[in-house]
């Protein structure tokens, strides 16, 4: 069987969903003739034509706005942000129009907004963002951020079929760096379910996206030192799978949260609150965080490396915590 990259898994999900349902169509900058800045939509214009693969002007608010309107007539638009950083330009439309539509007047907005996020590719301050927390803090949205090709495909399909607006973050560092065999059949991965990527008894590392891989790397290193870290991949950030997180902490009594997002106000806080609320008695040590620095993403390689979390830093924090 062929190995499918994270990027190609996304393309497959789009293609298969468009094949399944003509209500699914795509909007975004340079997604048609060019096939997208990262080629996530390559070949889809050829296959589905101009009406279903719509190259737009540089207008993120209009892209999201038009997707909303389309969804009101029963369509299932998938909007691409060329880089997820540009989602900031549609922030009002997303947090005020999209997120509140169903609550206010009962109009569901089954759209997907997807795009490449994350650092590690020297993209600098405007092409490396992890803006997920802005949306995790917005009731009415769902937020998904897969770490594997399997999940990317399965979650994107779920997102398209979901009756709620889903923000689908893709980690661009993973696009071509990871691959795996995927099932031939149509499959989905449910939104809202975390997964234990590696069982362990000494501490829980809760993380998502590219940091899953750094955490697994750290866990291997720790295992060689006799520390068994459990690695939980959140996969969905909103709604958060509280149960899987809390069960893991109940097992290990120690919690390290790792995210590539900046520290203050990152999801580690929310998880710390959840755990101290619901599993305080199970905790056997402080909750630790390994995150990016509280700065914009710097450009030059030594700076960006210093900015980002990595396996070594995760292992170090885990070691500390295990010893606590």
């Amino acid at each position: 069987m062929v190995q499918v990259t994270y990027l190609d898994a996304i393309r497959q999900a789009l293609l298969e969903e468009m094949d399944r349902d003509p209500a699914v169509l795509l909007l975004g900058e340079d997604i048609g003739v060019y096939g997208g800045a990262f080629k996530a939509t390559a070949g889809l214009l050829e296959r589905f034509g101009w009406e279903r693969v719509i190259d737009t002007p540089i207008s993120e608010t209009a892209i999201v706005g038009a997707a909303i309107g389309m969804s009101y007539l029963g369509l299932r638009p998938v909007a691409e942000m060329q880089f997820i950083d540009f989602i900031a330009c549609a922030f009002n439309q997303i947090t005020n129009f999209v997120a509140k539509s169903h609550y206010r007047w009962g109009a569901p907005v089954p759209i997907v907004i997807r795009g490449p996020a994350g650092g590690g590719v020297h993209g600098s301050a405007f092409h490396s963002a992890n803006p997920e927390m802005y949306f995790v803090h917005t009731p009415g949205l769902k937020v998904v951020y897969p770490a594997t090709a399997y999940d990317a495909k399965g979650l994107l399909k779920s997102a398209i079929r979901d009756n709620n607006p889903v923000l689908f973050f893709e980690h661009k560092f993973l696009y071509r760096r990871i691959k795996e065999e995927l099932p031939e059949d149509d499959y989905t991965v449910p939104i809202g379910q975390a997964i234990v990527r590696r069982p362990g008894r000494d501490l829980s590392i809760v993380t998502y996206a590219a940091m899953v891989h750094a955490s697994l790397e750290a866990a291997e290193q720790l295992a060689r030192e006799g520390i068994e870290a459990e690695v939980v991949d959140l996969r969905t950030l909103l709604p958060l799978d509280r149960q899987t997180v809390i069960e893991s902490v109940r097992r290990t009594s120690k919690l390290l949260v790792v995210h590539e997002d900046t520290r203050t106000g990152g999801i580690a806080g929310e998880i710390a609150a959840l755990v101290t609320e619901s599993a305080f008695e199970d905790l056997d040590g402080p909750i630790r965080r390994v995150t990016s620095l509280d700065t914009p993403v710097p450009f030059s390689p030594p700076l960006e490396e210093h900015f980002l979390p990595n396996a070594a830093r995760i292992a170090e924090a885990a070691r500390d915590l295990a010893r606590y």
């Binding site: 003739v33 719509i54 002007p57 369509l75 129009f97 206010r104 007047w105």
Partner: protein, 407 residues
Amino acid sequence: MKSDPARQELTHEEALELYYYMRLNRSLDELLVRLFRQNKIVGGLYGSLGQEATSVGTAYALAKGDWIAPLIRNVGSLLVHGYKPRDIMTQYMARVTSPTQGKDGTCHFGDLKTHHVVSPISMLGDLIPVMAGVAMAGRYLGQKIVAMTWIGDGGTSTGAFHEGMNFAAVQRAPLVVVLENNQWAYSTPVNRQAPLRDFADRARAYGIASYTVDGNDLVAVLRIAREGVERARQGHGPVLIEAKNMRMLGHAQHDPAEYVPREMFDYWKARDPLTRYEKYLDRHKLWDEKEKAAIHARIESELAADLEFAENSPFPPAELAEQGVYCNGCHNIEAQWRRAKEELMPPKSAVTPEWTIKDFGGMETKPAVAADRSEQQHSVIEGAVVHPPQTDRKRKITAPGSRRARR
């Protein structure tokens, strides 16, 4: 009498129906002001006094199945589109019987299945791209619908307005945007919004057709709206209609509008759209006293019944606040296909991914006048100024080769 052009423009039935909506809009507004003074309204009250002809005339130009997204002053559009006074009353009174069950107020409501109304949000401009999407989806599904929305003079300064108009223009979406130039955005006069005499000129940035119409002349508004709607429905792209009128009250009830010169109110009061339409009906003998009285009586009894309904409606139960953030098993919006889906599926949908670039963008290339636009002959339309789409206008060549100028 037979040859009176006014009688040809409006049927007797239409003329009376229009009056019903105009008068109902006005009376409902007056009733709401009374309720506000009695402290029966929750939050602010935004009036439409003086703007009824624009709301009613534009919405009246639409056909069944068309979509609208009114702003909070477009009470008249909602009435024409099928909502009842009780819907607006219960919204303002925050009752559980309101279209949003008290979750939202004012005219912030809508309905995707029956009325085809998209609720506004407060952030001005955001509706424009949304309604561009509605228009595109309608076309995609093979429905021959038009999407109409409204925007204030102030709202045209927002980025969302620009992005939505531009996207609709490049997509030639069947979208009609009514730009209600009521001279004020809260306390800000229109000349502080942009140095334009006609806000219809906003359309020139998108190469689309636009109109400026006297927003207090109901018949002119309807005439232009019908033309604009037809134009959009025929696939000629979006249309911007500027209706000039006047917000005859403050921004909302809390605002005494002291910043408005008094003579300005006088000027516009003399042009009151309801009185003008009454005179029009008189002049063209489109009604008689009995018919007029019957409409008044009907409105009075309808409003009384709806008010009773609203006042007897309870507030929502507190726990409702927790419900409905997500749609779980509730989605029942089916795409209404009016074309063969196969057209949109491979292999039928297959295309060659190639741009055709007619000219290369140089200074020498000839203006590309879209064939389907050139036959549009915009000339004198009563009560309105018509701006053809950009591409129709010819450049005056005053110098040979690449050197030319236009004044």
